[in-house]
């Protein structure tokens, strides 16, 4: 009886699309019903860009995209992500406007968007989700959307600025693409 249950649970599994690739996981020894998405991504798949810093949904360092929206991967069970599309920072192209804007951030008065860099992947993914939903947010909207992310190094001014610059990049690329002969 016990044996049968074990066998059938091993047959049960989940499928998650991670950074464009479908992955199958069998429920069993290394994936239990209580495994978090963060654990699965970091420990099973090696996507260590996301960080687990508080493990209770209070810092934002583990943020990834689920179907384009931000989720705290420490608060999502792996089984809940079954059938969904997950994107981690490793899945963003180097010319993603948010990545570019964070990398370039440097303006008199604002400072860089990262110092130790530990919060950065979480901020980038939260910002990416915000801009997916609202490509031209106001500063107040940026603050609201990123209010759940902690940067202990305190580069908040640079981060907010980078998100606004990313929004401008998106608009410029759109305009470039729309113009005849324009380049994205």
């Amino acid at each position: 009886m016990q044996k049968n249950e074990a066998a059938s649970s091993r047959e049960r599994g989940i499928r998650i699309r991670v950074n464009g690739q479908w992955r199958d996981f069998a429920l069993g020894d290394d994936l239990s019903a209580s495994t978090t998405l963060a654990y699965l991504l970091r420990e099973r798949l090696g996507f260590t860009g996301l960080k687990v810093s508080c493990d209770e949904g209070a810092c934002g360092a583990c943020t990834v995209l689920e179907d384009g929206a931000a989720v705290l991967s420490c608060m999502v069970l792996a089984v809940e992500a079954d059938g969904h599309d997950i994107q981690t920072i490793e899945g963003l192209p180097a010319d993603d406007p948010v990545v570019e804007a964070f990398a370039e951030q440097s303006e008199p008065g604002f400072g860089t968007a990262l110092q130790c860099g530990y919060c950065t992947p979480g901020f980038v993914m939260t910002a990416r989700a915000l801009l997916n939903a609202n490509p031209s947010p106001t500063l107040a909207e940026v603050k609201e959307a990123l209010g759940g992310n902690i940067c202990r190094c305190g580069c908040y001014a640079g981060i907010a600025r980078a998100v606004l610059n990313a929004s401008a990049k998106i608009a410029a690329r759109k305009a470039g693409a729309a113009a005849p002969g324009g380049r994205a």
Binding site: G109, G111, L114, A157
Partner: protein, 761 residues
């Protein structure tokens, strides 16, 4: 700015911090079993249930330690694993090892201990009453305060409380130790002090320091929390590796980290300040009761910085300040950005606040009148040199349009009953150098490789303060080559030995100078060769942008070619550099000397808006004028000011560290310990660097930047206080004359509400 390599790696998720390093075959995870109450006597450990859990489980106790069971450096009061009595909740009693982190946690939970609970003390003053101190008290004096008080027109006295602060480096504490042949160990440690960790491991394992190699990779924040307190996790991992022959990883989760590690020291202080009728300070006395926690850790050094900064940026002719390190049963409090200075500065600022109210003086006028100037001396005898106090304050008043701002706030307050605004300014003066003389030294190792690329190793640990970036700039400028050719390595004890912690804001001052010395040595050799190749005089040659220049003309001789030729000519392309900060001395007995290489000045103005019904507030604006000397990298320095200010503001107004009376931490998660976020920060923060202010005392005429700006946050406390005082007597729930005199930091909304309602006075 051109994005740096490091930031690009970060943004692709590729930077590997300690916990991101892939697990190696057969790796074991170590989880400590810690003490269940604040003080107790360990009678026995029964690991049988834990051992039965899984074949991979083992449990190590004090008797497994081959060397000395001791981590304390200044005072031997900190065992690695408790053997007998423990003195705080969360002290390590045993280490459970297993094949996965969750197995190891389960195993640790299954270890049974037999113990007696003993009486504990958590309050600093209570500890002082019972004579429980880490070391004898320390006093600094100047002039004759006792007789000066008798000449004062106004004397104010009172008590000041300031709370602790949790570091919340986003990357928790941890280490990975690998056992090598012959009993040697190699350790990756999340530390600010690799040599300190190396020493701790050698001591506890009974090895020579040459048998222990420690590497610190880029840290996800540290802020002082990984200066002394990284050692025990690394020593535990090393112990596990030594006993099992396997690689062992110890990595705390957030709750463990918050419960088990030290924080900024809470202080309770008494002050007495006397002024003449014009508002000139004549005398000041303060007694600081530092809650040091259960072990010595860095408490003496932190206390000394409190005493050195007792007068902050003010001239005080007659002074007596005494600090006591009160031993309590809380986890040992430790270094945190500012290192005791914020606590001392807060007390004198409270005293001035009380004096301004008592004497009816304008708080800004009062501060200006007493500001340090050239020709003054600090109370420990060091002359005030190259003083920039007045310049930074004047510029802050200008930048913030202080006079208009004050008038606007006052008229706003008379027009609004339930919303009040407030503002405050705060000058700073922060001494740079480790107050412990021996720590003011550092080394560097520079290699120029055959292809012209350069590797620089120093004792500095990169933890977000971008010291690696600064050292890269320093090396590139010194060698006259593009920055891209210079790589700054992770910090390794086998490359640079006998280093001290990257702390006290001195990371780039000391290590940058050491790197510069090594680069200059190599440049000298290369220019000698170039002189021979070009038939020129060495003195007229330089290297700029990768080419040898002669006078103002650029020669054909490129860096790479020069390096290539040097190698063929068998010229050494490596050099070691060393730096010891000159001119420092201090007589501990007399409490006199020149402990600081120089001081950093600056000033902040902060405004706040208070909801007088709810006690909630927001910060509106901050203006900061900071003395950075000549900035090596503007973006980096700006970020340091912003970040330190955010932490200072958090300490002053938000971060509420609470223990219950039995020594249990109540705020032990990020959902119960609030941190500054984007919405908490003032809507506008204007930061300006003082112009035309080179510093001849440090590398490339710069000034250290890490800690001083944290003090600016204290202005946030007084801005809220100012708003609270505007809450008028007609307020519906406000008790009459409940204007706060009690100084108790942080000024959380709960406290603000208590003040409004007269619960607190």
């Amino acid at each position: 700015m051109k994005p740096t390599k490091e930031s690009e790696l970060n943004l692709s998720g590729a930077t590997r911090y300690l916990d991101d390093l892939p697990a190696t075959e057969g790796m074991l995870y170590g989880v400590p079993l810690t003490s269940p109450c604040a003080r107790g006597l360990l009678r026995g450990i029964d690991a049988s249930a834990a051992l039965a859990l899984d074949a991979s489980v083992s449990v190590l106790t004090a008797s497994d330690i081959p060397g000395e069971n001791q981590l304390g450096e200044a005072v031997s009061d900190e065992s690695l694993l408790v053997d007998g009595e423990w003195s705080y909740l969360g002290q390590c009693l045993a280490l459970a090892l297993a094949a996965t982190p969750s197995l190891a946690r389960k195993a640790a939970a299954l270890v049974r201990i037999v113990y007696d609970e003993l009486e504990a003390v958590t309050d600093a003053r209570a500890a002082a009453e019972s004579g429980s101190f880490i070391l004898p008290s320390r006093t600094m004096r100047s002039g004759d305060p006792a007789s000066a008080f008798s000449r004062c027109a106004i004397v104010v006295e009172g008590r000041v409380e300031s709370g602790g602060q949790e570091h919340v480096y986003l990357e928790a504490q941890g280490a990975i130790a690998e056992s090598l042949e012959g009993g040697r160990v190699r350790v990756v440690s999340g530390t600010q002090a690799p040599s300190g960790v190396q020493r701790a491991i050698a001591r506890t394992l009974g090895l020579g320091m040459h048998d222990v190699e420690v590497e610190a990779r880029r840290l996800g924040g540290a802020f002082g929390g990984k200066e002394d307190q990284a050692a025990q996790w690394a020593a535990l991992a090393a112990l596990g590796a030594a006993r099992t022959g396997k690689t062992v990883k110890v990595y705390l989760n957030r709750r463990e980290d918050m419960n088990w590690t030290g924080k900024r020291h809470p202080y309770s202080s008494d002050y007495k300040l006397g002024l003449d009728a014009e508002g000139r300070i004549l005398a000041y006395e303060a007694d600081y009761y530092q809650n040091s926690g259960a072990c010595c850790d860095l408490s003496p050094a932190i206390l000394s910085r409190t005493l050195f900064h007792a007068a902050s940026a003010y001239r005080i002719p007659n002074l007596r300040v005494t600090g006591r390190m009160c031993r309590t049963n809380l986890p040992p409090f430790t270094a945190f950005r500012g290192f005791g200075a914020p606590q001392g500065v807060f007390v004198i600022e409270c005293a001035l606040d009380a004096a301004a109210r008592e004497g009816g003086w304008d708080p800004v006028e009062l501060r200006l009148k007493n500001l340090l100037a050239e020709g003054d001396s600090f109370h420990f005898g060091q002359p005030v040199a190259d003083c920039r106090a007045r310049r930074t304050v004047d510029r802050t008043l200008e930048l913030s349009r202080w006079t208009e701002l004050r008038a606007e706030i006052d008229s706003f307050n008379s027009a609004h009953r339930l919303v009040k605004r407030g503002a405050a300014i705060l000058p700073i003066c922060f001494g740079v150098s480790f107050t412990k003389l021996v720590m003011n030294q550092g080394g560097a190792l520079v290699h120029v490789y055959g292809d012209g690329s350069v590797s620089v190793s120093t004792g500095a640990v990169e933890m977000g303060q971008q010291v690696a970036r600064k050292i890269q700039v320093i090396a590139a400028r010194s060698l006259g080559i593009p920055e891209g050719l210079v790589r700054v390595e992770s910090t390794r004890t086998a490359s640079v030995a006998n280093t001290y912690s990257t702390a006290a804001s001195t990371g780039s001052d000391i290590n940058g100078m050491a790197a510069l010395a090594a680069c200059e040595e190599i440049r000298g050799r290369l220019l000698g060769l170039a002189a021979r190749m070009l038939g020129a005089d060495k003195g007229e040659l330089r290297i700029e942008s990768g080419f040898v220049t002669k006078g103002c003309e650029i020669t054909e001789l490129a860096w790479k070619e020069l390096v290539d030729k040097a190698h063929l000519d068998r010229i050494d392309l490596s050099a070691h550099g060393f730096y010891a900060t000159p001119g420092l001395f201090y007589d501990m007995k007399a409490e006199r000397g020149s402990p600081f290489a120089y001081h950093v000045y600056g000033c902040s103005a902060v405004t706040a808006t208070l909801d007088a019904l709810r006690g909630t507030y927001r910060f509106d604006e901050a203006f900061i004028v900071h003395d950075v000397g000549e900035s090596i990298d503007y973006d980096v320095d700006l970020g340091q000011v912003e970040g330190a200010f955010a932490q200072g503001l958090g300490w002053a107004a938000l971060e509420d560290l609470r223990y219950d009376e039995r020594g249990r931490l109540l705020s032990d998660t990020l959902s119960t310990y609030k941190l500054p976020d984007l919405r908490f920060m003032p809507s506008a923060v204007k930061i300006e660097f003082l112009e035309g202010a080179p510093n001849p005392k440090a590398v490339m005429r710069s000034k250290a930047i890490g800690e001083p700006p944290l003090l600016y946050g204290i202005a946030g406390y007084f801005a809220i206080l100012d708003a609270l005082r505007a809450v008028d007597r007609t307020h519906p729930t406000k008790a009459p004359s409940s204007a706060p005199y009690a100084y108790d930091l942080p000024m959380t909304p709960e406290k603000a509400l208590d003040f409004i309602q007269g619960v607190r006075r």
